[in-house]
């Protein structure tokens, strides 16, 4: 398969890009932020997403979705990134769907149609500390009655306080097990925190949360593979969103170089800035190709996907970070003002960089996968 968008994908982009740009540009984020919105995203916008069928893009057709792939989801995520659109799309429609579709069974039958219908927001309760270390999950699930009792603390749970269901990764006797914990479960509390990018993520406490046996997503002790599918999808999605953030920042910056005058010249005429902008362009192009490759390998179910997902998260992380840093610097003083958008790109990039493993985490993964 060639590594560019085919006609159908290009058409999807042609409809999604103007939709997101018109309905949820950066001013949309500002409005939510300035009104101290307590949800973290716009329900109205999510309803519009639903009208376009976007929440269920990755949901198999048998469960009422469009049965599309990561390449297509990436198109939506890039536009979300470019416009800094607050949305539950990444966690719900990409991460949760990947896990549920991989697991199948009762929980897939219960939640996938609801996601496709825009009715369910899902949170991913994976991380437990300030850094992403899914290898060290300490939350426990112990047999209790005809089900399980969950105890532990989760952090950086996007939409945790409003989610209809949280996918909780916990340790069981023989491995990792994933659970679908409904919103009203007793002992489940979500404490939302406003983050640097104005999004809301929760500290989640599981204090003797009792769930039935059928809350298990997939099989008991066999959650590792499902967690891997969730992580691969969410990491690739976050990388795609970062490509959008980086591209948005770069476009703003290049345009600024063409209009801002200093010393009687457009600053874009200065070779010092031209070379940095051209270097950034190269990094962004490489990052984009890498993310597409990871999406393609995931869609093909290829063995090489895991390596490429880490490469993509690391590369997109580096490139987007360069884009926002250069963006603020090249904008000069105005780049430091709240009024100007470039700083918002820097904030979103920081949050996405941490989400599901930072650059260093994934570089380390690449070394491990290559045997050193």
């Amino acid at each position: 398969m060639p590594l560019y968008h085919n006609d159908d994908q290009a058409m999807l982009k042609d409809s999604v890009a103007p939709f997101v740009a018109e309905q949820a540009p950066v001013s949309h984020l500002r409005k939510l932020r300035d009104s101290a919105d307590a949800t973290g995203f716009s329900r109205d916008l999510w309803a519009q997403f639903t009208e376009m069928g976007l929440p269920g893009m990755l949901v198999p057709e048998a469960h009422g979705g469009l049965g599309m792939g990561h390449m297509e989801a990436g198109i939506v995520l890039e536009e979300i990134g470019r416009n800094l659109t607050p949305s539950p799309f990444l966690a719900t429609s990409v991460g949760a769907v990947a896990a549920l579709a991989k697991a199948g069974g009762t929980q897939a039958g219960r939640w996938l149609p609801a996601i496709a219908g825009g009715e369910a927001i899902i949170a991913l309760a994976i991380d437990e500390g300030a850094k992403h270390r899914p290898e060290r999950i300490a939350t426990t699930a112990t047999r209790s009655g005809n089900g399980f009792r969950l105890d532990g603390k989760k952090s950086f749970v996007l939409h945790g306080h409003v989610a209809d269901m949280s996918i909780v990764a916990a340790k069981t006797d023989g491995g990792i097990t994933l659970f679908a914990v409904p919103k009203d479960a007793k002992g489940l509390t979500a404490d939302p925190r406003r983050l640097v990018d104005s999004s809301l993520a929760s500290h989640v406490t599981l204090d003797g949360v009792e769930v039935d046996a059928d809350a298990v997503i997939g099989e008991v002790d066999a959650g590792g593979e499902i967690l891997d599918a969730l992580l691969a999808a969410t990491r690739t999605g976050a990388a795609a969103e970062m490509v959008g953030v980086g591209q948005g920042a770069m476009d703003m910056t290049v345009n600024y170089l063409k209009e801002r005058k200093q010393f009687g010249k457009l600053i874009g005429e200065f070779q010092g800035l031209q070379h940095r902008a051209a270097h950034l362009y190269g990094e962004m192009e490489v990052a984009r190709a890498t993310v597409m490759k990871a999406q393609q390998l995931l869609d093909e179910g290829s063995e090489g996907a895991k390596l490429m997902v880490s490469v993509a998260k690391a590369k997109a992380g580096r490139a987007a970070n360069l884009a926002v840093r250069e963006g603020v610097q090249m904008h000069g003083g105005i780049g430091m003002t709240d009024e100007y958008d470039i700083g918002l790109y820097m904030k979103r990039d920081r949050a996405l960089a941490e989400y599901m493993g930072d650059v260093h985490y994934h570089i380390d993964q690449v070394a491990r996968m290559n045997g050193y």
Binding site: Y4, G268, A278, E285, V286, K293, L307, A367, Y372
Partner: protein
């Protein structure tokens, strides 16, 4: 079985029967490369047999049309041939600037007569070419070149000099940019071909920091070049040169000077030893190597996307400049890490164990990657102006 599968089977069988075992060993040094040309001495019988077999089949230039010495393969068939050759680690039967650079330019700009006359011998490895672009005063700034061809009716008389002429001392012919009109900076250059044995041509190898001399100074003293030996239009040689430079960058970025683009960390784990966690026992270097590997895998994805887009006309015309810039900078970084990873062993300059200081020489050689074929700075200028459309100059 599909047609392509059948082709793959056929190629596989042909390679099995025709590629000698000695030609399935990695290239160790310059002597292992088959350059062809009238002065070329084959290293052994296997090298000659492999070339002869490929020439007979058109496989030295598989995608060129049959009348010009190729096999007339489609892009898909060419890809399969390359995959199958790679699978058995077959060496390239013939390397030459004629194949990489002049050939594509002739296919694009040459007359039918020129194509028949030059392409067949190139495909058979009978003419070894060198490229006369750079001059002492004109490196990346090619439009400032001074070598002048005076119009004498049926021929030009060429005077001047070239520099960094790769393997000029071993080449049979040169393709050369010569100013034929002093009044027009851009449209006053003609793309000429002539025999290096022509009266008035002399070459002198330049000793480089690597201790090798792949480049030469080349001098033209009243060299007579017949008016039949130019490509494209007179005074429009820049068009041919630009087309050819695009190919050169494609080649450099596609893995020539871009290196083999494999994971580097694994190769050094043995030299360093591993710690209890099974990690390379220098955490800082391990991190640098892993960060480099991320960039290598990423660049491979970019290479694939670039070729997919380039072949279908989707790529920005200047995107080869970006590939060249990113690829050559990456290759320089690789060799810095190769030296760090190799430690004191990599410093050895002429010992047998180090194959004559291959790592040190290779490291020094890569410093030219971001100079030859247009400097990194020129690549960045082109990206800034042609892709990002930044103002000025």
């Amino acid at each position: 079985m599909s047609e392509l599968d059948a082709f793959r089977t056929e190629v596989r069988e042909w390679l099995e029967a025709n590629c000698p075992a000695e030609m399935r060993e990695p290239i160790r040094d310059e002597d292992d490369v088959c350059w062809g040309g009238r002065n070329f001495k084959f290293k052994n019988a296997a090298q000659k047999a492999w070339l002869d077999a490929c020439v007979a089949k058109g496989y030295t230039v598989p995608d060129w049309p049959k009348p010009y010495g190729g096999a007339g393969l489609t892009p898909e068939q060419t890809k399969i041939l390359k995959q199958e050759m790679k699978r058995i680690k077959a060496r390239s039967p013939l390397d030459s600037f004629g194949i990489w650079m002049l050939g594509p330019a002739l296919l694009q700009f040459g007359t039918e007569e020129q194509k028949v006359h030059y392409l067949n011998p190139i495909a058979r490895g009978e003419i070894r070419w060198c490229q006369g672009y750079s001059e002492p005063g004109s490196g990346s700034d090619l439009v400032s070149l001074q070598t002048f061809g005076e119009d004498k009716g049926d021929h030009w008389v060429v005077n001047g000099s070239k520099i960094w002429t790769s393997y000029a001392d071993k080449a049979d012919w040169i393709f050369c940019l010569v100013r034929t009109d002093k009044t027009n900076k851009y449209q006053g250059i003609t793309f000429m071909l002539f025999d290096m044995e022509s009266k008035g041509v002399t070459t002198k190898p330049i000793l480089l920091i690597s201790g090798n001399s792949p480049f030469c100074e080349t001098f033209f003293d009243d060299v007579e070049v017949p008016k039949t030996q130019y490509v494209g239009e007179i005074n429009r040689g820049w068009d041919v040169a630009k087309y050819l430079l695009g190919h050169e960058r494609e080649m450099i970025s596609g893995g020539g000077a871009g290196g083999d683009m494999l994971s580097i960390g694994g190769a050094f784990a043995k030299a360093f030893g591993k710690n209890e966690a099974g990690e390379l026992d220098d955490p800082i270097l391990r991190a640098e190597m892993a960060a480099f590997d991320v960039d290598v895998f990423a660049y491979r994805a970019m290479g694939e996307r670039f070729m997919d887009m380039w072949k279908t006309g989707r790529a920005h015309p200047a995107s080869s400049n970006m590939m060249k810039y990113v690829g050559t900078e990456l290759n320089k970084r690789r060799h810095e890490l190769v030296m760090s990873g190799g430690g004191s062993e990599a410093l050895e300059w002429d010992s047998e164990e180090t194959k004559g200081g291959a790592r040190a020489r290779g490291w020094l050689r890569t410093k030219a990657n971001s100079i030859e074929g247009g400097t990194s700075e020129v690549m960045l200028n082109v990206i800034a102006k042609r892709i990002l459309d930044l103002p000025g100059a």
